[in-house]
Symmetry: C2
Subunit: 404 residues, 2 copies
Amino acid sequence: MHAFREHSSDKSYAMRAPPPAIGTRLADLLTPSLLVSLPVLERNEAACRSYLRGTGVALRPHAKAHKSSGLAEWLLDRGGSEITGLCAQTVSEATVMVEKGGCKNLLLTNEVVSSAQIRRLATLAADNPDATIGVLVDSPDNVLALSDAMASVRGGSLSAFVEIDCGQDRCGVKPASPAALAVAQAVVEAPGLEFGGLHVYHGGIQHVRETEDRRAAVASGPASAAKATVSQFRAAGIEVPVVTGAGTGTFKMEVEAGEHNEVQPGSYLFMDGDYSSNQEGTSAFAQSLFVHTTVISADEAGGKRVVDAGTKAVDLLCGAPRLATVDDEAAPLDPELLQAVSCHNGGDEHGVLRGVPAGQLPLGSTVQLAPSHCDPTVNLHDYLIGVRGGVVECCWPIDARGPN
Amino acid sequence: MHAFREHSSDKSYAMRAPPPAIGTRLADLLTPSLLVSLPVLERNEAACRSYLRGTGVALRPHAKAHKSSGLAEWLLDRGGSEITGLCAQTVSEATVMVEKGGCKNLLLTNEVVSSAQIRRLATLAADNPDATIGVLVDSPDNVLALSDAMASVRGGSLSAFVEIDCGQDRCGVKPASPAALAVAQAVVEAPGLEFGGLHVYHGGIQHVRETEDRRAAVASGPASAAKATVSQFRAAGIEVPVVTGAGTGTFKMEVEAGEHNEVQPGSYLFMDGDYSSNQEGTSAFAQSLFVHTTVISADEAGGKRVVDAGTKAVDLLCGAPRLATVDDEAAPLDPELLQAVSCHNGGDEHGVLRGVPAGQLPLGSTVQLAPSHCDPTVNLHDYLIGVRGGVVECCWPIDARGPN
């Protein structure tokens, strides 16, 4: 009979693929692995701050896109006072960004309800009294549970933002509703909680393709929801210090609409096939994220190549990736080849390339795939490998990877 | 200017959600988390061995389904001499199964071509001379590269299996083709390599729904490909010791067809929505894998609940999960409720349940989701939590998680 043992995860973690040495050339990297082009990342990062400068709207980049304390630290270093803080989407992300990434102002843009997760969040706030930790709420019961947890940890406070459902039909209370006011009033009265403001975000409209349609969706969705609820709260004697929300696809429109004073783009650092399909508005940003793969099987006559990156290396829910070259690689692939080749689902550990001209992409050669969706692709990997000129310049562990 | 640093991943790993203590009740577990019902797992495991007993066909369960050295150890303990060894699909999986899971006979069911991965594989073989390590090949060039790597590590050998493309149109050489024989002859002549046999597997036919259609697909695909190639090789003076392949959906049919003497099911331990849609043939197995979630937002009037498990906790490529109850939980949900509720994609960290009757599944309650595809769902988590009677009995780190 097998006796169940508790297994330590330390040694096994090291048995997984090790991080590459700085200075490794792309051709010598382990595949599949996740690359970020540092020149493109730097341009994307600068372009976002440049756009927001002088608008009076604060930037709080979302860490769910990268899940890396090292990248967070890089971002906060570069952004200086122009970056208010970070968003996170899970308690693990929040913990890693605050305790390892040096983030002093963290907003967890989700409701935290399970008692075990509430305990972790309250402990994080108590352990980091110099940091502002925020969380979303949409029910008075949850407000009470958070307040109770803060009482039990004796120290620190949480900043609670009322989540407004501005059309996504997910979490949140309806704009300017009695329910919205009831949640805010519960926050105001709850020991250990501060009222942070409103979270008014619509994920679904980030990918409305036409610019004018997207602008209209912002006006009728988050902008009008924010405006109505701020008025309602003011009439009830509650001032709203911060209205936060917006993603990479819409944040310029929220800025123009004038109801939000903080925006939360995250994907702008990496971009992906889905965002690239949007009409202008996200065009200031270029794709910096690539999955590096090796051709492991070649069918010259059939124009087929099999690469070692499948659905456990590239998320396919938003569609197949496209063949690409890291923008700063020393030897980029022929643009005609990139155009000719299509990528197909080959299962968990295989990707299938079709339409490859004879003699191209031989067995053992490396190529890159540009994912259709950056966030879930990052979540599949252990390291984000920064490259410049075809050489590894840094390696950031994706240390907040995981679902919880 | 930010100075890029190499980041250690040790501390950050601990900042992620910790493993639960043995004896924790389901209601107190962190969510989202991944549960396996131990009674169902045990029944699935026993049913597979029971079916194969006396057939003369060896069982080599595939570790890509669980990616856990702890579960591998459990499996090898229970299976005794009835389990030949394990399959793995990546070099990390192979390393973890051999060096931590105690596996003495490991077949990596993929081509390994990148030079960095070949080095890791050769080192694994050299470091573990008491273990048999196998790998697939489909080109003479790759055979030479593997042989060179074995020469450079000085010690041990690799068992190379010729992969036959029996219809999946992915890797492999055509059955009974000159190319197949050329690869086998290259293996026979290569120092440091043994000829292991043929790998004849078709992933695509595992999910042919009707039993008779699936049986016909096995006959015209893997079974006939194996038969023709074994004859071809024999005529050329090469005996084929092992013909391996087959998955959970078809392995009984490969056994009946009589050409394979080893089968590689993996999902039979967990099962999933996709396999459950197959007509009988997989009916000996029941779903043991569940994602445990908390209701984080409740819309009583709309019959909607939002749970804290999105696409980073449940893979959706094969469809949405269904609401379920861990089979051995002390307080199972009402079957009518399970039937009434549908699950929908709510994004990376949200799942949306619709059709929930008023008063059911209140805010803060926990529910389970049964994934449509087990392998990629397991890959999203850090721990596989074994439960019995609604209580945690063991926790297996998913220590081979990741793409490489």
